[in-house]
C-alpha cells in the first residue's frame, strides 16, 4: 500500500482487500483552551491539541482497533497490521460474532455555527471578564473563588468500507464557577457549576451572565454556612433543571445504554434494570415523566451530524408517560438485539478510542405548568438547586445524591436555606413520585461522562425543567 493524500480511504480500502467484512478509519483533531482565575489571580492559561487516526476492522466476526498519533506511512501500515492482529486475537475467544444493523451510506458535512468563535476572543478580554466575575464572588466567609472559561474545537472525518464519508467540525464553549465558604465551627459550604457548556460560541458565555451567577453562588454558600440543619422526614422536593439534568443522566441515560444489556460494561460501569422484556411494560416513573434522546437539539453537547458509526443524528423516546420504551444503540448493539438503529449513539472520545454506546442529549420532556404554579403547590418543602455528591449502584437503580444548596419552600414561597440535605432512593420509586414538570425547560451540558476502558470522557447534553416530587425521604447530615 502507498498512502495517498487520502489516508482514511486508503486504510479502509486496504482493510477490505485484506478481508475485513467492515472497516472504518477516523481522523480526529482536537483543540482546547482554558483560562482560569483563582482568588483574583490568573491560575492557568492552557491550550491543548492532539490529532491522530483510529482504524477499526471487523474480521472473522470480531473487532480489532488500532490508533496512532503518527501519520507517516510506516505508522499507517502498522495500524492496519495491528487492527487485524487484534481482530484475530478477538476471534480466538469468541462465542458470538458481531453483526451490524444496516444503515445507508452517508456523505456530507456538519459544522457548528458559532456567532463568535470562542478561540478568537482575545485572552485579555477573557481574563478581564473572569476577574470581574471573581470580584462579585467575594464574601465575608468566602475562602476560595475559582472561575474559568473554555473553548473546544473538534474536527473529524469518518470513512467506512460501506461508502460513508462524513466530515464534522464541532465548536463548544463553556464556563465554570465555584466558591468555598469556610467559618470556624461550621461545615464548609461549596457552590459550583462545571456543567455550563454548550455547542456554541462566545455568545453562550454572555448568555450565562456569569457576574450575576457569581453573586448568587456567593449568597447561596454564605447562607448555607449559617443555615440550620434540615429535618429528616418525607418531604416535597422541587428540583431545579440543573439538578434534574444530572438525575436524568444517571438514572435514565445510563441504564438505557444498550451495551449494558450485552454485559459489555458489566465488570466496570455495570448493567441495567431495564431489560428488553420490560420494554413497553416497566413503569419507570409517573405519567408526568417522559424522556427523549435527541442528537439534533440545537446547541446540545450530544448534538452531531453523524455518530462514530456514521449513523445520522436522530431522536427517539426512552420513557413515554412513565413507561420505559427505548434504548440508546450502536449498530453493533442494535444488530445483537435484532432491532433497527432507533438512534445512533456510538461515540468515541477521541481518535484513540473505540466507539461505544454513549448518551447523546437525553432530556426530561417539558410539562405545561408554569414554575410559579408548581411552587404554589408546595405547602412545605425544599428546592434543591444543584447536586453535590452522587453515587449509584451498578444497575443504576439505587442512588444517593446530596445537594449544594437547599432552599426552604413554605406556603408556595421560597424563604431561607437549610443544610446537610441528601436523599437515597430507587429509580422507579423516585420518578414515580413526580407529580408535575414545569414548562421552563433548559439545556445543560456535561463534558466528562465517564465510561469504557480505557476511560472515555464524553460530552453529553441534558434538558430539564423544574419538577416536583412528593414525600421523598430525606437525610440530614452534619
Amino acid at each position: 500500500m502507498t498512502i495517498t493524500s487520502s489516508p482514511l480511504t486508503d486504510l479502509v480500502h486496504v482493510a477490505s482487500l485484506r478481508g475485513a467484512s467492515y472497516a472504518d478509519a477516523r481522523r480526529v483533531e482536537r483543540e482546547h483552551e482554558v483560562v482560569s482565575v483563582k482568588d483574583g489571580a490568573v491560575e492557568s492559561v492552557t491550550r491543548t491539541s492532539d490529532r491522530g487516526i483510529g482504524c477499526r476492522v471487523l474480521h472473522e466476526g470480531a473487532w480489532g482497533f488500532a490508533a496512532t498519533d503518527r501519520t507517516d506511512e510506516a505508522a499507517l501500515h502498522g495500524l492496519i497490521d495491528e487492527a487485524f492482529r487484534r481482530a484475530r486475537a478477538s476471534a480466538s475467544v469468541q462465542r458470538r460474532k458481531v453483526t451490524l444493523a444496516p444503515i445507508a451510506p452517508q456523505r456530507g458535512e456538519y459544522r457548528t455555527k458559532p456567532a463568535r468563535d470562542p478561540f478568537s476572543v482575545p485572552l485579555a478580554e477573557r481574563i478581564d471578564h473572569l476577574r470581574e466575575v471573581d470580584a462579585k464572588s467575594v464574601g465575608p466567609n468566602i475562602k476560595t473563588r475559582r472561575s474559568s472559561v473554555a473553548a473546544y474545537r473538534t474536527q473529524k472525518r469518518l470513512v467506512t468500507s460501506e461508502g460513508t464519508d462524513v466530515a464534522q467540525e464541532i465548536v463548544e464553549t463553556g464556563a465554570g464557577l465555584s466558591v468555598l465558604a469556610v467559618k470556624a465551627g461550621r461545615k464548609p459550604a461549596s457552590r459550583y457549576d462545571s456543567r455550563l457548556v454548550r455547542q456554541a460560541g462566545w455568545e453562550y458565555v454572555e448568555h450565562l451572565d456569569l457576574v450575576a451567577r457569581a453573586q448568587r453562588y456567593r449568597d447561596d454558600a454564605e447562607a448555607t454556612l449559617d443555615a440550620p440543619l434540615a429535618v429528616e422526614r418525607p418531604t416535597t422536593l422541587v428540583f431545579a433543571p440543573e439538578f434534574l439534568a444530572l438525575l436524568v443522566h444517571e438514572s435514565c441515560g445510563h441504564p438505557t445504554e444498550a451495551d449494558r444489556l450485552l454485559e459489555h460494561e458489566v465488570a466496570f460501569a455495570g448493567t441495567t434494570f431495564m431489560w428488553p422484556k420490560d420494554r413497553g411494560k416497566l413503569r419507570y416513573g409517573s405519567p408526568h415523566v417522559s424522556m427523549t434522546a435527541d442528537a439534533t437539539v440545537p446547541g446540545g453537547m450530544g448534538t452531531f451530524g453523524w455518530d462514530d458509526d456514521g449513523v445520522p443524528a436522530m431522536r427517539t423516546k426512552l420513557i413515554d408517560k412513565g413507561i420505559f420504551v427505548g434504548y440508546l444503540t450502536s449498530r453493533e448493539t442494535a444488530g445483537a438485539l435484532g432491532v433497527p438503529v432507533a438512534i445512533g449513539s456510538a461515540r468515541a472520545e477521541g481518535w484513540q478510542h473505540f466507539p461505544i454506546v454513549r448518551m447523546v442529549n437525553v432530556s426530561l420532556d417539558p410539562g405545561t405548568t408554569p414554575y410559579a404554579d408548581l411552587l404554589r403547590g408546595v405547602d412545605s418543602g425544599l428546592l434543591l438547586e444543584a447536586p453535590a455528591s452522587y453515587s449509584l449502584d451498578e444497575k443504576r437503580q439505587n442512588f444517593h445524591f446530596s445537594t449544594q444548596s437547599a432552599r426552604v419552600i413554605r406556603g408556595g414561597q421560597l424563604e431561607g436555606y437549610v443544610r446537610g440535605v441528601a436523599f437515597q432512593s430507587l429509580t422507579p420509586d423516585f420518578w414515580g413520585r413526580c407529580d408535575g414538570v414545569a414548562d421552563d425547560w433548559e439545556l445543560h451540558g456535561f463534558l466528562s461522562c465517564a465510561k469504557g476502558e480505557p476511560l472515555q470522557l464524553m460530552r453529553v447534553g441534558h434538558g430539564a425543567a423544574h419538577a416536583r416530587f412528593r414525600d421523598v425521604p430525606i437525610e440530614a447530615r452534619e
Partner: protein, 454 residues
Amino acid sequence: MTLLGPDRILTPLQEALRGSEADEADIHVHRRRSAITRYSHSSIHQNAVSDETRATVRAIVGRAVGVVSTNSLAVGDLRRALADAAALARASRPDDGWPGVADPEPFGSPQAFDEATGRADAAAQSGHIARVVARVPRTMRAAGTHQIELFEDAVANTRGVAAYAPATMAYLRALVLGETSGSGYAEDLAWRADTLDPEGVAERASGKASLDGDRMRLEPGEYEAVFEELAVAEILRIMSITGLGGEQVREGRSFMSGRTGEKVTGERFTLSDDALDPRTVAIPFDVEGTPKRTVPLVERGIARGPVYDRGSAKAAGARSTGHAADRSRYAPGGHAANLTMAGATATREELIGAVSRGILITRFHYTNTPDPRAATMTGTTRDGTFLIEDGKITRALANVRYTMSALDLFAGIELLGPQRLARDWWSSNGMGSIVCLVPPMKVARATITGSSPL
C-alpha cells in the same frame, strides 16, 4: 510502540528549551501504549490498542504562566509550543504564587518496568482471557478486562532538570456471573504480566459467584465488617482526593486542616505515599521533575501532613514532596497517588472468623463523598457481599449502601491482613490514577444506610 529511551526523548526537549524566549520553561512528556482487551459472556468483544504522546509545555514570562500541550516530539513542534505558551503567558497576568521550575535533584531508579511486559501482544492478552474462560465453571460466564500499558515519562526544564523513566503495568480482571446465582469478582494488578494468575483470578471470582445465591436484604444499621483490599482502596481514594493534598489542607477542606500532629483516627491505621516501593506502579519523579519522596500521611492514627507540589509547598512554606499531578486530570495542589497502608498478618479466614455478625465487602461501585472534610464516602457494594455469622459466611446479601467517614471506619480496625497491589473502582479504568498497597481489614463498625433490591 517501542520505547524511545532517555536520549531520544530528552534531546529534542533540551534542544527546544535552549531556544526558548521565556524566562523559564519546562516540558513534561508522557508516551503510552495502551492495549486493552475486554470480554463478556466469555467472549472478547473489544480489542483496542493506541499509541500516543503528549508533551505539556509551560513557559513563564514575568511570573505569568502559559501552558500548551501537543502530541508531537519534533523539535520544531516543541519550539512552536514553547513560543505559543510564552505568548499565552505574555497575554496573561503574573502569578504571585509562582514557585519557579524545579532544580535538578537525583531521583530513584525506575523500578516498575519489565521489558517482556512491554512486548506483550494481542495474542498474549487473548491467551490470558482464554485461560480465565477455561477455568470458569460451564454454568457460569465471565467478563472483564486484560490491560497492558507501556509508558515512558520525561521532564526537562531551563534549570537543567533532565529526568526519564519507563514503566509497565499489567492488569487482569474477571467478573463471573452464574445462571442461577449472582456475581463474583477478582483481579490481579502488577507491573509484570508474568505475575498475573488467570486461573487464580477465575477461581476467586467463580468461588464468590457460587456463594452469591438466594440473597437477602440487610437492614440499615451498624455492623462488624471485613473489607477486602479493593474495598479498602476505595476508602483510601476518598481520603486522597479530599484530604491528602497541600492545597486542600491550606484551604480548610481536608480532615487534616488544623489538625496536623493530632490523633484523627485509630492507632492501627498508618498511611504513607510511597512511589519508591518496588511493588508499586510508579514513575520516580513528578510532572514538574521533582523526585518523589516517601511521605508519612497518618502514623498510628496521628495526622502527619499532606503531599505537596511546588505551588502548594511554597504557599505552605514547605518543600515539594514530588507530588505534582497531571494538570489535565487533577487540580494543582499535590496529589497522593501511591498510597501504602500498613498491614499485618491476619489470614482471610482469621478476618472472617473474628466477626460475630457482620458483612464481607468485596468492592464498591461509583463512590462519592457527601462530606469531604470528614472524608465521608458513600457507595454501594457489588460482586460479593456476604453476611458473616459466628465467624462464617452464611448468606449472600443484596448490595448495600455504605456511608461513613473514613476516619471513623479506620478507628475501628481490629485486624489487618497482608498488603496487596490494588486500585479503586475509579482508578481501575483510568478515571483516577491511584495505586494502593493495601491490606484487607476487619473493623468493629461499618455504617450501612440502605440496600438494593434483591
